[in-house]
Symmetry: C2
Subunit: 264 residues, 2 copies
């Protein structure tokens, strides 16, 4: 029995994760519910980071901000606890990865502000529902990600390049791909580039900076979306004394439906 | 000659306003360009206010934030100066209106953070382009606004009721009204209520809290939009030592096209 298939509600997942009884990727878990990235920073960094996200909504679509010390996402996930309800966390100190943990109780303090940021799983579900296949899912690999020459709008301490993810799309599905992903600006939304990777500073499409290579077939075009790795990379550059994130693939699952944040 | 009709570009307007040579409402000026509300607050209030706006994007759609002391909107209006390029400003001290001025040079300091917030003129233009008439424009009155029982999501110091504007819409145009305004979430977007005013706590539709009454004809339904007066009212409740806004109707005109912020 595949445990993933049996988890249909966010509450079931929180209860398992809280007891360290679910330690796998959240891909496909609690289908139809929003999953989010987590970025937790000291409150001294919070205004600049929120402003950075406001200025760069495509890579950094903020869905909820938890005020200093708060750990229950009252808007998106009442009853959850972001300190325990993600399977794996990464702890960074002064911009360097220090450890990976199953909860962040020992690191928690009342000075920490947490940002829940939209995740590509939402628009990928919309694509799959429209019968647009996704190579990295077919291949069972991590989506390829690239550092581009597209600059973000800086804010205070924060600046840096946009990181994108790439999905090869059959030419016939290009228009539909733009349409269905445009409905979800809260989870990166429409693509930011279609076609020639070199135009956005990607030298070799087969050598992603993060994730794994996706094979591009003859009748396919590479399509690029702004990626949630951007805010993490930019935040790390500012070397905060502490920063906590989810571990890649182990997202925070909310009890809010994907459709509730669609723009139309 | 009507001077309004001769002002087609934001730059022309800035130059006139800067010299106090244009002192009228900006309705209909530089058609097709985004106009915005201005809210300027001390930086101690900036994170809570930005977070309030993030949590309440319908009444408070932030289009640009100018960091402490900055007065040129580099994203929406390069070359403009928000201290001089609005015809009339309101200065509030400790939550009370202190004066109305033609520029804010004497009040300016490096501690002030400015928020440019989307304005209903944008979605009204979209409605007019779709041949949906607007009663307050026909009547040449100010749109009626009401304090509702719809609570905003509080953030830090900031909380309070949602203020809405009302436009009577012919039944035949209801669907088209929702469609065309939905394209502009950055300027209040889709309506938040259609029909019975009492359901959102409005006792007498003929006695608006701000603006003037709009006649509702027999084949028309009152339609309500979240209104930019909300963030101003909420900010004033927190009684900041200083707060500066545009005067109602005298908006900041950007050099960015309405269409550039449409979601589809």
């Amino acid at each position: 029995m595949n445990i993933t298939e049996t988890i249909n509600t966010p509450k079931e997942l929180w209860n398992l994760v809280r007891k360290d009884e679910y330690l796998k990727s959240t891909a496909g878990v609690a289908p139809g519910y929003l999953q989010t990235n987590l970025v937790t920073l000291p409150k001294e960094y919070a205004f600049d980071f929120l402003l950075f996200c406001q200025r760069n909504p495509k890579p950094c679509p903020v869905l909820e901000v938890l005020e200093p010390g708060k750990f229950e996402p009252e808007i998106l996930a009442k009853g959850a606890d972001i300190r325990t309800d993600i399977a794996f966390y990464r702890i960074y100190e002064n911009g360097k990865l220090k450890s990976e943990t199953k909860n962040i109780i020992d690191y928690w303090n009342d000075n920490l502000v947490s940002f829940l940021i939209g995740c590509s799983f939402t628009f990928e579900t919309a694509m799959l529902n429209a019968d647009i296949s996704l190579r990295h899912i077919e291949q069972d690999t991590t989506v390829p990600m690239y550092i581009t020459n597209i600059k973000t709008e800086p804010a205070g301490k924060f600046s840096g390049p946009t990181v994108v993810s790439m999905r090869p799309i059959n030419k016939e599905n290009l228009v539909r791909t733009v349409q269905v992903t445009s409905r979800f600006p809260g989870t990166h939304g429409a693509p930011i580039h279609i076609g020639d990777p070199s135009e956005i500073g990607i030298k070799n499409i087969n050598l992603p900076d993060f994730g794994e290579k996706s094979k591009i077939k003859e009748d396919e075009i590479p399509v690029f979306w702004a990626c949630g790795v951007t805010p993490q990379a930019v935040a790390l550059q500012s070397k905060p004394p502490i920063m906590i994130t989810h571990s890649p693939g182990y997202m925070f699952v909310t009890s809010t439906r994907d459709e509730s944040i669609a723009v139309i």
